[in-house]
């Protein structure tokens, strides 16, 4: 009979009395030298509005500064659109829809989308650097995720453009007309691609407002549209803050409104659109549960937790900001997590070795700081990595709250920063109940070695995406969107296309 005799035979010495618990040393024995990305982002000192295929000065003549959150230096001036500019953009979009784009055969539209995708790939490094300078995310993320994924969305939807007869089996589809879109600052270029590619593939034309802190890559994308020969007016960019966004959302022209951003603003937009016949899709906030069972591969789960909450400084609507861990392994997971966080590199986003870059804006940094202070005041136990932060710029240490209860603010409110709240559970049912006990429902993660439990959890969790033994995985073919206050409508895949057409 085979037997497990390990412990008995082991010559393991008895625990030495008086010695402290063994610890790992993550010190400076092998410090990495700076490894800055040096590609030229080719920024213009001033960016105008992009209307009817041309860069045009705003009618009000006003510009605002876009700064680099990593060092607070000014990068460029961005045009501040007026309501008259928004009118002009919508008029151009309507003309383009009626005159060219709406009537163009899908196979012809596909050629433009393919061209855009390829041009974006050609200039990938330049775009990655621009995205990192403007938004503060680490260069390795803009290089390995944002830019390639944006190109992938154009490629994917280019592929659909001549196959739209198969999007809705048994039905025919027709474009909606002009769509108005407002996107957030966390994935500026990628959100552009998510919004524009399906709209264009379907034959719609677009007026889009990027976030005020991150307009640069959208306007660089406009250069690509020019290079690709995209007919004037098919895509128009108007830049500015919330006022311009409201003008885009409430304009009478668009047949559909697509918004990605906070639940708070989403509600305001929906109030404004109540009573109109405009279609809407809303991709709003989240407070996702990342659920770790005791049989999970713990080191890989820890990696997924880190990826889930610290990816893009936690500025991710589907971030796994609530860690639910089974009580029997809670201590172990927390210890592993702390050791892992000690090796994360926080700092200059342009350094190729940086894991966590700069917070997008001072406003967001203040919000994170305030919520973390509230978390401390509530009596949650806080752990922060002891890393050095640059003297200038907006930075926040990776932070973990443990022993958090469901009623705590840090467990309920979306922080949108590198802050993780750790809660525990005992049974599968309790995990499901706690995970669903939130106003949001965008995403969730499940970590277990047991396949049947994954299937059960994915049917019971009220979340648009459930990742199993992984986290923050995206693909153009896979629909993304929420439940409850995380919004409605889907982006990506066949489902995403259906939100940009009418069935006839």
């Amino acid at each position: 009979m085979p037997a497990l005799t390990a412990a008995k035979k082991s010559p393991r010495p008895a625990a030495r009395p008086g010695r402290s618990a063994p610890e790992l040393i993550f010190g400076d024995l092998w410090e990495f030298d700076p490894a800055p990305e040096t590609a030229d982002p080719k920024l213009k000192p001033r960016y105008d509005l992009f209307i009817n295929g041309q860069f045009v000065a705003p009618k009000g003549g006003k510009y605002f500064d876009s700064i680099n959150p990593a060092n607070e230096q000014k990068l460029a001036e961005i045009a501040l659109a007026t309501p008259a500019d928004v009118d002009a953009a919508y008029a151009a979009a309507q003309r383009a829809y009626d005159g060219v784009w709406g009537k163009m055969p899908g196979r012809e539209r596909a050629k433009y989308l393919f061209r855009i995708a390829r041009l974006l790939q050609d200039r990938a490094r330049e775009f990655a650097v621009a995205e990192t300078l403007d938004g503060g995310k680490p260069i390795k993320e803009s290089r390995d995720f944002d830019v390639p994924m944006a190109a992938a969305h154009f490629f994917y939807h280019a592929g659909w453009a001549d196959k739209l007869d198969y999007v809705a089996p048994g039905r025919s589809v027709a474009p909606l007309g002009v769509v108005g879109q407002v996107i957030p600052w966390n994935f500026p270029l990628l959100m552009c691609a998510w919004k524009i590619a399906p709209a264009l593939a379907m034959g719609n034309t677009v007026v889009l407002k990027p976030a005020e802190t991150t307009s640069i890559t959208a306007l660089k994308l406009a250069e690509i549209f020019q290079d690709a020969g995209l007919p004037p007016g098919v895509v128009n960019f108007v830049t500015g803050a919330g006022g311009v966004g409201a003008a885009v959302m409430n304009h009478p022209t668009p047949a559909k409104i697509a918004f990605t951003g906070s639940t708070e603003v989403g509600k305001i937009i929906m109030r404004g659109l109540a009573g109109t016949d405009k279609k809407m899709t809303m991709e709003l906030g989240g407070k996702a549960a990342n659920i770790v069972f005791d049989d999970a591969p713990l080191d890989q789960a820890v990696e997924g937790i880190v990826n889930g909450i610290f990816f893009n400084q936690g500025h991710v609507c589907c971030a796994g900001s609530r860690l639910l861990v089974q009580e029997s392994v809670a201590e172990k997971v927390l210890a592993k997590l702390k050791n892992r966080i000690r090796t994360l590199r926080v700092g200059d986003p342009m350094d190729k070795n940086t894991d966590i870059g700069a917070i997008n804006s001072r406003e967001q940094l203040d919000r994170i700081t305030k919520l973390v202070a509230a978390g401390v005041k509530e009596g949650n136990e806080m752990f922060q990595a002891a890393c050095k932060l640059p003297a200038k710029g907006f930075y926040f240490r990776p932070t973990i709250f443990s022993g958090v209860s469901m009623s705590s603010r840090v467990a309920r409110e979306e922080i949108f920063g590198p802050v993780l709240s750790v809660l525990t559970f005992r049974t599968v049912d309790e995990a499901i109940e706690k995970a669903n006990n939130t106003a949001y429902g965008l995403s969730a993660g499940v970590w277990t070695d047991k396949g049947s439990r994954i299937l059960k959890m994915s049917t019971e969790l009220k979340a648009g995406v459930v990742w199993a033994n992984t986290y923050n995985k995206f693909d153009p073919t896979s629909p993304f969107g929420g439940y409850k206050e995380s919004g409605f409508g889907r982006e990506g895949g066949r489902q995403g296309l259906l939100d940009y057409c009418k069935l006839v």
Binding site: L4, K9, P11, A21, W30, F32, A35, P297, K352
Partner: protein
Amino acid sequence: MLARSSRRSFQRLFDQVGPVDQIGIEERVAKYGTRSIKKGAKLWGLKTAVSMVDLTTLEGKDTPGKVASLCQKALRPHDDPAVPQVAAVCVYPAMVRHARRALGSDTAVRIASVATAFPSGQAPLKTRLAEVKAAVADGADEIDMVINRGAFLAGEFGLMQDEIAAVVAACGSATLKVILEVSELETYDNIRAASFLAMRVIRPGDFIKTSTGKTSLNATLGNNQVMLEAIRDFYLDSGIPIAMKPAGGIRTAKQSLTFLIAVKETLGDAWLNNARYRFGASSLLNDLLRQLEKESTGAYQAPYYFSEAAESY
């Protein structure tokens, strides 16, 4: 009956040490490859890697002459005195006394010898132990043994551990390296489990090692990571530091730096030295020297500057 009980013993072992997710661990190690090591950090990494090499020749055609030239290379890898000596030479037991003669007794370069019917281990235990004792008597400082993979795969963990314990006893004061032969264990779950079984019966400072270099798949970042994590968990649990040696397949300086980044970010600074981490390799050394030369002169030198064109050193 046998099959069922072996399944049960595996189940119990996996429950104890925990599973490994293949996709997750391969994603983790892919991130090491994106680290960018420049300037001073690169020099430090390359020199440290040189000092961790177990310079190896394990061929049927090895001769005292070949081993002597290998030893010369180990003592003085390069003309530049700033380049350190390697950690050890690694030879078959019959070559140990020739290596000892070449190196002398007053040297920091250690002699490692594969023993226990390397690479298969398919000899009676008595024969394997006699081989270990003979190698130690001839002057080996370190013994690289192979585990009984057949026993492991049949779930006979006690037998596997008893044999390792017997080799520990036969080693005397020599350091032991336990080769898991990961390609024959096939899954990451098995590699993690076998690492724990081995670590429970060896001494602080002994090694676990990936492979013999004699099978199709040897050291990869993935199985290196599984074993580093096992070492870390075992250390935090028991306080016993176990050392690690990936072997086979690490041929370029860049690869070795990536392995060292894995060590830095998994086990930390205490493992970034040749008492705790080694590379079992032969052609790696010359690529490290070539890169070191390039760092100081800015140009790549021809292979014959590093005694590479010849089949031996």
